[in-house]
């Protein structure tokens, strides 16, 4: 057994973790309640299974807390490799559920390796960056770090599960924290803006506008050295990107991808068709009012109007049955947990610990942002779960491991000096 130091354990994270898991289960219960229900732990019902998964995740927690924290650093490469192999294996042994080959099925239990790959990748990235020979200012090292992220992301993309692959974008925050140029972040932001604006208007408008802005910047800036060539490069870059977005959107994207973007951008309103999910989810949340309709009293939830309500759309149950107060409570809990992770990251002495914890914060944030944003209709429909809330064993265990490895590393932050 490890010489674990319970006095250093971050109880705030653990408290918030349990609040989220319990409140999540309460909502899964309501969202998947049916007439056939016999008890709270009926294993034929999603809420019964979820209760079992929660119980099993306690075992994960104990194992992680009992493990030597050096283990995670030493074995991070191996964990990463195992994770990659498990993702590769899906192409041979995987089971296809609703279009994506993301699952191993053993008996009645299905496991989704991509949920565990996040923690593994975070460990591997932390290991690479914390290596004394790695300097994130060097392009070669940046490229290697990118490769660590790209491998699992591409394998997941191939399932295909675009949503889960998107999560790997979260690591850009970690990389930025660890020293890559802000330019990357700026370019990323610029790319997203141009992407959205191109879809909202069209490539020509975006190009004209960016040219005008470039000219304005030129005349408003005093130091004009090299400015003109920079602005020209930016403008050309934006133009090319805008054209390619236009092309990709119209020729590479499938119709359902296009629909998702159009719904969120407000270019299409079709409550009965493609916008049904978002529309129903907004109705459910909007009808909650200040305090909600009460637990298991949500009419939209009972009627099953919101598809995938106990998984990706679980937050709509919170909105309907617990109202504005309950929804804001959940948002506050997530914000506390993520900000706490950031705080923990910053207090680590070891760079490995810091990179890992920062990645935990980033991953949790991306899930939080994309999932709730989607459910309340301000982000396009992307199928990723809400951590601790959405139904699913793999997801819950994946996030539990992610958080508790952080807690474990943090509890040993004083002793880990190598």
């Amino acid at each position: 057994m490890a010489k674990s130091n319970l006095g250093n354990i971050d109880w705030i994270s653990i408290l918030v973790y349990f609040l989220l898991v319990i409140f999540g289960w309460i909502n899964i219960y309501s969202a998947s309640l049916s007439d056939a229900a016999t008890s709270y732990f009926d294993l034929n019902q999603p809420y019964g299974k979820q209760a079992l998964w929660i119980g099993l995740s306690m075992i994960f927690i104990i194992i992680i807390l009992a493990t030597e924290s050096k283990f995670f650093e030493r074995f991070s490469s191996i964990i990463y490799m195992v994770s990659l192999v498990s993702l590769l294996g899906l192409f041979i042994f995987g089971k296809t559920i609703s279009g994506a080959t993301s699952w191993y099925v053993f008996g009645g239990i299905s496991i989704q390796p991509s949920e565990f790959a996040k923690a593994a990748t975070a460990l591997a990235l932390a290991k690479y960056i914390s290596d004394l020979q790695t300097n994130m200012k060097h392009f070669k090292h940046q490229a290697k770090a990118l490769l660590i992220l790209a491998l699992p992301a591409l394998l997941i993309m191939g399932q295909p599960d675009a949503g889960s692959a998107l999560v790997y974008a979260a690591f850009i925050f970690t990389m930025y924290r660890e020293g890559i140029a802000g330019l990357y972040l700026f370019l990323g932001f610029l790319a997203i803006s141009v992407f959205v604006l191109t879809l909202l208007f069209n490539a020509t408008t975006v190009i004209i506008c960016s040219s005008i802005i470039a000219i304005c910047i030129y005349f408003l800036t005093k130091k004009k050295k090299n400015l003109i060539s920079k602005l020209v490069i930016y403008t050309i870059g934006i133009s090319l990107f805008s054209f390619s977005v236009n092309y990709v959107f119209n020729h590479v994207f499938k119709q359902h991808h296009r629909d998702r973007f159009n719904i969120v951008l407000g270019k299409e309103v079709d409550a009965k068709g493609i916008g049904y999910n978002t529309d129903q989810s907004e109705i459910a949340i909007g009808s909650g009012g200040w305090f909600g309709k009460g637990w298991t009293e949500g009419t939209q939830t009972k009627g099953g109007f919101v598809p995938e309500q106990h998984t990706d759309y679980i937050f709509s149950t919170v909105g309907e049955e617990w109202g504005f107060v309950g929804s804001v409570f959940v948002i506050i809990l997530f914000s506390i947990l993520i900000i706490r992770a950031l705080f923990i990251a910053e207090r680590q002495k070891s760079q490995f610990n810091r990179v890992y914890c920062y990645s935990v914060a980033s991953i949790l944030f991306i899930h939080f942002f994309v999932n709730i944003g989607m459910v309340i209709g301000i982000v396009p429909t992307v199928g990723i779960p809400l951590p601790f809330f959405s139904y699913g064993g793999s997801g819950l265990w994946g996030f539990t491991m992610l958080v508790f490895i952080m807690v474990k590393l943090d509890s040993d932050r004083m002793t880990s000096n190598f």
Partner: protein, 621 residues
Amino acid sequence: MRKLLLLIIIIVTAIGFTARLFYLQIYDTSYENLSRNNAVKILYDYPQRGYLFDRNNKLLVANQPSYDVMAIPREIKAFDTLEFCKILNTKKEKLVKQLNKARNYSRQLPSVIVPQLTKSEYAYLQEKMWKYEGFYIQKRSLRDYKTKAAANVLGFIGEVNNRIIKKQPYYRSGDLIGKQGIESAYEKELRGIKGVKYIQKDRLNREIAPYKAGKLDTLPVRGKDLHLTIDIELQEYGKKLMQNKRGGIVAIEPSSGEILALITAPSYDPDLLVGRKRSTNYTRMYYDTISKPLYDRGLLAEYPPGSPFKTINALIALEEGVIAPEDRFSCYHGYKYGSRGRKMGCHAHPSPVNLTKGIAVSCNSYFAQVYRKIIEKYEPPQKGLDNWRKHLESFGFGNFLGYDLPPGRPGRIPSAAYYDKVYPAKNWRATTTLSNAIGQGEVVSTPIQLANMTAAIANRGFYYTPHMLKKINNTKITEPKFTTKKHTTISPIHFEKVIEGMEQVFTKGTASFLQVPGISICGKTGTAENFTKIDGKRTQLTDHSIFIAFAPKNNPQIALAVFVENGYWGARYAGRISSLMIEKYIKKEITLKRMEEWVLNHSLEEEYAKPYSGEPFKINQ
């Protein structure tokens, strides 16, 4: 900066989400309705409408079942329109029109597509109903009239219009509501309260369970049964007497203000306004501007009251102390007044006359002088006139009486201000308004106001607001409005002489041939000139026949007013009808067979046709 970026993004995200949630959950309330429409189905259970009885417990109105085809537009699936139209015996264009109308009203709420099926249509359709998704049959109850004589009193029910739905959320499209008469006045009591069932639906529109375990559901409450004050036998008899005539009869029980009969002629068969034919029939009757069957003359017609008005002028003069009962006034076939030799005509009778005689022979001259004394008691005449008016108002003239039927008309008692407006120099005098003395000129009243005045005289100085409702669910009404005495401004002692005069109308006066054996009736004839416009020209028509009476003289049981349009003179039609009505009510049988026969066999249709013939005609023949 590197350390803070993610922190800032997290905080901004949390604030953004909170703002969006605030918009969805608090600011924009439309989601709540959307959710309700989406997930909760509302079913109504319509209660039986209350029955109506007459004062003697006779059933007047009951219910019969009726079936409406309803539809919820957004649930309608493609269906065989041809077969549907065939079953319902309707045209495709009409069906499409109804469906569009329903869609415009609401996509989620049910609308009536085909109202009021017959029983056989219903039986056949119910077998096939499963084929038509989105349609269902709503059972309602329609009225079943047991009498045809009281359509104007009972009123009718019909579908609510959108204006009412907007104002009163209790009603939904297709609901029935009382539209006239008692049905309208006592809508709340009669309709009961419909029961509501809330049902939780799922996304496939299946009903899965009672919403909130049925906690919000309510059972229907049956409408209350009402006993009316009318005596249906008297009502039916009155209707019979008024056949082939136009006008109204209002009979009141003086001791309670209960309306015993309210007859208008011509009227209509209440069954015409039941079921699918209602709207066509209603439109037809509504546009019948000649016989106006929907027009309740007893409440709405404003006629000059004529000579019956003399009784009240006599009472005012006595109260004001300007005459004594035995004061005599001369009559020289009329009364000359003013400097330019104007004259109010009168008929042949012995002269001079005192008060009782004046009433008995209906002497215009006598009342012209009495009226002058009333007005000229005060200086200027404005003051005298308004004082006179105050007395009249205490009898319910010149304003809405406040009975429990659609409010009718206020009539008119001219005020000083009224004459000041007509004569801007304000130099008018009592003689200028002299027609008021004999109930002509500017004075107009409705038959029910005259009947109420008669009741007040019968009571020697007070009346109860006339009303139609006797009992609710077999409990006598206690509504203070109808159970509180209203005192007139005339002291009881002044009534005896006037009543004596009214008795002499029967014993020695203008109605001596109208006596009913064994009943002492007090009454007053009236004949009112009237005019109409033909091709824009003011043309005089045959006088209206007016009569007021109460009986017996002591402890009166009935007071009534009868108007027969263009009936020539008071005793001729209205007088005969009054006597027959009184005998019918008090003796429950008719001994005056010959008089009854005369009334039933005399028609005024020819008289009514005259102004429309386009040819010149003579009046008062």
